[in-house]
């Protein structure tokens, strides 16, 4: 793979794009049955307080873009359904984007490019996912059998077809499980983490330590109220209110995590439920604005998007892909790791995050994969995922990419630093990264 910085000369030449504000729902752990909210319900739950806070007329928005991977049958094009349910009016165009775990960032990036090129001024971009609503599906053989029964003409034919029934047909497959398996590499996402953990010598203890710290960081952020502006309580129709990310375990410890068995490659694997991201429901929105929109509506932007980057590699090592995107961004802007004040690197798996850090600091890897003479060096863990991540608060796939950008904006503001990168690995071997600056 090769690239040259000259390919990207347009990056600075056009209009600035601001990140004005954003809000998300609490991320709600899937507890074995469908949760109280569908993807659009979640998008509405956090969209309403955000729009209320911004107090903009509905017509001010040019478009709604929403990332969502597991669209449920009753909400085709969830972006449009959400736009209408949020009261943005019949004239609001809206589309849904899908690039697996990057969908919520893809929506921001698409909005960013529309505004930068001048065809829009104000866009609501989000991500929503209700993994608890992932349907149960029948195996193809079972579906074929059922179709055969329905098509059989006459009683004898129908009986013959009925007799072909196998008990296994009754066993549904959770579509989620299938969705988390790469069809090319034929590896489960957890297995891809095992692969890179092995290749970059990440130990089980290191992964568990990382997971413990993720929980502790999130617990502290919740306690300190650092998420209060970011997380809007969600209200279910049966009168429950969900105020915070509920997957956090403040008492998580190395000892408790070390007891867990590997889930993907038992008995010798390193990836456990405890050091993987949690399966959750959640949604997140950010509002992007042009300079004109900022002036017109007297908005107070929090950050400006400098650049974004998408990259890809072999699906079997998908967890490593952020390294590519980050490397492109840093090179293009002539920055070093230390020039970035805060990092959000989505915690798909603790071992995968650690493998990325190892790769950035691996001379061989940087030379062969990135074409660099020297490795990027050590990424300061005190700047990385400072308020926890998907291991502690969960990974509603379509929302996560949006959340890390949103949280990066808020974390930059809170800590009073300037530059940040949000990046995530994407099932299928891709990655996205976004470089922003506080304003």
């Amino acid at each position: 793979m090769s690239y040259s910085p000259q390919d990207f000369t347009n990056a600075h030449s056009t209009r600035p794009v601001y990140l004005v504000d954003g809000a998300r729902t609490p991320f709600l752990k899937v507890r074995g049955k469908p949760g109280p909210f569908s993807p659009v319900d979640l998008a509405v739950q956090c969209g309403r307080p955000l729009l209320l806070r911004l107090d903009l007329p509905a017509e001010a928005f040019d478009q709604v873009i929403l990332g969502c991977v597991n669209v449920v049958a009753g909400e085709m094009n969830p972006a449009r359904v959400a736009a209408l349910r949020l009261g943005l009016g019949e004239a609001m165009t809206a589309f849904t984007v899908q690039i697996n775990c990057g969908s919520g960032m893809q929506s921001i990036d698409t909005a960013f490019r529309y505004i930068r090129e001048g065809s829009a001024d104000l866009i609501l971009a989000g991500g929503a996912e209700a993994l608890s609503h992932a349907p149960m599906v029948l195996e193809d053989e079972a579906v074929n059998w059922l179709a055969g029964v329905q098509q059989a003409k006459g009683l004898p034919a129908r009986l013959r077809q009925l007799a072909r029934f196998r008990p296994g047909y009754l066993k549904p497959v959770v579509s989620l499980k299938r969705g988390l398996t790469d069809p090319i590499a034929e590896l489960n996402m957890g297995q891809t983490a095992e692969v890179i953990a092995h290749l970059f010598h990440i130990s089980r203890v290191q992964a568990d330590e990382y997971a413990v710290s993720s929980h502790h960081r999130l617990a502290r952020a919740q306690q300190e109220g650092w998420l209060d502006q970011e997380v809007a309580p969600a209200f279910s129709n049966d009168g429950e209110v969900f105020k915070r990310d509920d997957g956090v375990r403040p008492d998580s410890s190395l000892e408790s995590l070390s007891k867990l068995k590997p889930v993907f490659e038992a008995p010798y694997g390193k990836v456990t439920a405890g050091n993987s991201s949690q399966i959750t429901d959640g949604a997140s929105w950010v509002v992007l604005a042009s300079e004109e929109a900022v002036q017109k509506y007297q908005l107070k932007p929090k950050a400006v998007i400098l650049d974004s980057q998408w990259s890809a590699l072999d699906p079997a090592i998908m967890g490593l892909a952020p390294v590519l995107s980050v490397s492109h961004l840093l090179t293009r802007h002539q920055l070093t790791l230390d020039d970035i004040d805060l990092w959000e690197l989505n915690e798909a798996f603790a071992a995968q995050v650690l493998a990325c850090l190892a790769a950035l600091n691996d001379a061989d890897f940087c030379r062969t994969a990135l074409g660099r003479e020297a490795p990027w060096g050590t990424l300061d863990r005190n700047r990385l995922n400072i308020d926890g991540g998907a291991v502690s608060l969960g990974h509603p796939v379509g929302a996560s990419g949006n959340r890390i950008v949103l949280h990066l904006i808020n974390a930059l503001q809170r800590t009073g630093v300037k530059r940040g990168i949000a990046t995530e690995c994407i099932g299928g071997g891709q990655s996205g990264a976004m470089l922003i600056e506080a304003v």
């Binding site: 309403r48 349910r85 949020l86 009016g89 019949e90 129709n237 009168g239 429950e240």
Partner: protein, 710 residues
């Protein structure tokens, strides 16, 4: 959310055959005022009902006379078929013109009028060419009875059909009792007529009341289909015929009588019995049943109950009229501060009425409770899943009072504490947008106190809702000296916009309803103290016609709320004597036994119902007077002091806000019937026996006509 494009297009949706589409515009010269007749190329005559002098199609004598003439003409010059439909936007026909049901002459004269109306209906029913009624929107009472005279009924989606006569103390009177019980399952038909509840088009199709339910766009095809004999007509099945046999009728009638008596006392409401009687005697002979219906209807209509209930109908219309929509006032967004029992229900109700509502409270849990209650309300009102979701999407939790900035109406429903309310006003007032009104749901704090400290006291008005908000139609709209007329008019219009009836009242202690109810409730409590069983007391009030007795009502409202109101009145009405509050009542409140909401008050409550003993002694004579007269006396005080503008509003407010026996026409109407002097004498007697709390208001001794004008 129908946007402007579809809205424009939809104006062309309605099919009026040879008259074209949409609204009935230039129809050329017509010999008739209320009907338009034109025949299309296929020879189908379209008879379009469009009352000239009203925005709604109701059946008046003139309307029916014209219809008779038209039918005569059509019978001479037969069309291929006749299509009957309405040109009004929202309905087929709302029923009889009730204005003609007032100030009647003798029963015999009423019968004569009915007979000529029946003759018109019979002519339609006996037409020897196909007749089709096309029904959109409401099709009630006499309108449904006319439709029943047609051979086919095609309902457009969204149509609602019903016989609401029973709510006016009547039963159908244009042959409907016979035609409905002959057409469909007679039990279902009787249920519709006995409950007065309308049915939606799909339900009507299931019952066989209509032959098809379809969207407007398939109407022409459906008419053609019917004329070619391809649309199956609804015909009574075997079961319906058996149920209409004499022995089956006797059996069913007995059950109906029991159920009807449970709902309303036959002594007060004679119509159900009259209807059941009609069917039981004549169910198998349509002609005889229609004849009998005429005299039965005439008897009911000239009776006191029907006349009083018709009066109540017009009271409601008058109150609606006060709340008439004014095009200059826009109400899109409502902000409610305080998600307690009242605030939460007000917010949910407004969301259900199409408003976008922000609901704020200090605790998210209270808001969550309001969301749940609204979801339950949607279920109870049979909203479809998409409609329910729209309502709940419009009810926006707002923990930081952000909705204040965009609200057209801000309703404060925080605890009854002057300091708390002032603090809320200090926070929200600077954020109000120009033209917004600030309403308080206070029931006890004088608005003159609340307005102190406001930068713009002219924006403050009282909107006093009643519990449960979704069921109590009344809102007391409380004026205060500093409010501008525009703000007050806005508050009235807003009340109408959310489907509630406004009663304009002055800011006086307890306004009208609580001031009148409190002496009644306190007297009942005192009777308890004297050793009477609560069931005995409640039963006496129910026998008078109150929907529930005072003690059950107190439990429903909440003993804490009642006690609070009583203490407030005692404190603020220094010259008015009130019954003392027994210590045990305070104790109950202190112990948290507040009534229905806690499971125990004066009664034990289970599943929302009080556990009452069946066998209790009769109330001693005079109990009813002791309960009711203090309430009526307080009403007179309010009238004399001008707290309510007139007797009609007063009667309406007490019926819709306090459940005062509707068939008695309201407390003042009741007093007038008995004579003011008589009321004063009864109060005098009670005063001598029980003390000054019964002292008759000076208003009773005034000239009644002089009072009326106030």
């Amino acid at each position: 959310m129908t946007g402007h494009i579809l809205q424009t297009l939809n104006q062309q949706e309605r099919q009026l055959g040879p008259f074209g589409r949409g609204a009935l515009t230039d129809t050329g010269l017509s010999p008739w005022q209320h009907w338009r007749l034109r025949t299309d190329e296929q020879g189908i005559a379209w008879l379009v009902f469009d009352r000239a002098d009203a925005s709604s199609n109701s059946l008046s004598q003139a309307v029916l006379e014209e219809l008779g003439q038209i039918l005569d003409q059509l019978l001479l010059n037969k069309p291929r078929a006749l299509v009957l439909r309405s040109a009004k936007e929202s309905h087929f026909c709302v029923g009889a013109d009730l204005r003609e049901f007032r100030n009647l002459d003798t029963t015999e004269a009423v019968e004569q009028k009915l007979l000529s109306a029946h003759a018109v209906a019979d002519r339609l029913a006996s037409a020897d060419f196909p007749t089709l009624a096309v029904i959109h929107g409401h099709c009630f009472g006499g309108g449904l009875e006319l439709a029943l005279c047609c051979q086919y009924r095609l309902a457009v989606h969204g149509a609602r059909l019903g016989f609401p006569e029973i709510q006016l103390g009547l039963h159908p009177g244009l042959g409907g009792t016979a035609r409905a019980t002959q057409l469909i399952d007679p039990i279902a038909a009787m249920t519709m007529m006995l409950t007065g509840k309308p049915v939606a088009a799909t339900k009507a199709r299931k019952l066989g009341l209509v032959d098809a339910v379809l969207p407007e766009r398939h109407l022409a095809a459906a008419i053609e289909s019917a004329l070619n004999g391809r649309l199956p007509q609804q015909r009574p099945n075997l079961r319906a015929r058996i149920l209409n046999s004499a022995p089956a009728r006797q059996l069913a009638a007995r059950k109906m009588r029991e159920q009807a008596a449970e709902k309303a006392m036959p002594a007060h409401y004679p119509a159900p019995e009259a209807l059941i009687d009609l069917w039981e005697k004549h169910g198998s002979d349509s002609h005889a049943m229609r004849r009998a219906e005429v005299s039965s209807f005439a008897r009911l209509l000239t009776g006191e109950t029907a006349q009083n209930l018709i009066r109540v109908f017009f009271l409601r219309e008058a109150m609606k009229n006060i709340a008439k929509e004014q095009p200059t006032f826009q109400f899109n967004r409502v902000h409610v501060v305080g998600a307690g029992a009242m605030g939460g229900d007000i917010a949910g109700w407004c969301a259900m009425q199409g408003m976008t509502v922000t609901l704020s409270d200090q605790t998210a849990e209270s808001i969550a409770r309001a969301v749940r209650n609204t979801a339950i309300l949607c279920e109870r009102k049979h909203l479809g899943p998409a409609e329910k979701r729209r309502v709940l999407d419009r009810l926006i939790p707002d923990l930081h009072n952000l909705g204040v900035r965009t609200a057209d109406v801000v309703i404060e429903a925080v605890p009854e504490d002057l300091a708390i309310k002032h603090q809320v006003y200090r926070e929200i007032e600077p954020q109000l947008k120009p033209g917004a009104i600030l309403a308080t749901n206070t029931s006890s704090i004088p608005l003159d106190q609340l307005r102190q400290g406001l930068q713009h006291p002219d924006r403050l008005v009282g909107l006093h809702f009643f519990n449960p908000v979704a069921r109590m139609q009344l809102v007391e709209v409380v004026s205060q000296r500093g409010a501008t007329e525009e703000v007050y008019q806005k508050a009235l219009a807003f009340t109408g916009k959310i489907g509630r009836l406004p009663a304009p009242v002055l800011s006086a202690p307890g306004f009208l309803v609580n001031r009148a109810l409190t002496p009644y409730l306190l007297e009942a409590v005192l009777m308890l103290d004297e050793g009477m069983a609560p069931e005995t007391i409640d039963r006496a009030a129910e026998a008078f016609g109150m929907p529930v007795g005072p003690l059950e009502l107190a439990d429903q409202v909440g003993l804490d709320i009642c006690l609070g109101a009583a203490d407030m009145l005692r404190e603020q009405l220094t010259t008015t004597e009130l019954a003392p509050v027994p210590a045990w009542l305070r104790q109950k409140v202190d112990d948290g036994n507040l009534g229905r909401k806690t499971g125990e008050g004066i009664y034990l409550w289970q599943d929302g119902k009080p556990q009452k003993k069946k066998e209790v002694p009769e109330a001693p004579e005079g109990t009813v007077n002791r309960l009711i007269l203090p309430m009526i006396n307080a009403c007179m005080t309010c009238l004399r002091l001008g707290i309510v503008p007139d007797e009609d509003i007063l009667d309406g407010a007490m019926i819709f806000g306090a459940g005062f026996a509707p068939f008695r026409g309201g407390p003042l109407h009741y007093a007038r019937k008995n004579g003011f002097a008589e009321i004063a004498i009864r109060l005098d007697v009670l005063e001598q026996q029980y003390g000054a709390r019964f002292r008759p208001d000076p208003g009773w001794r005034k000239d009644p006509d002089e009072l009326k004008g106030q």
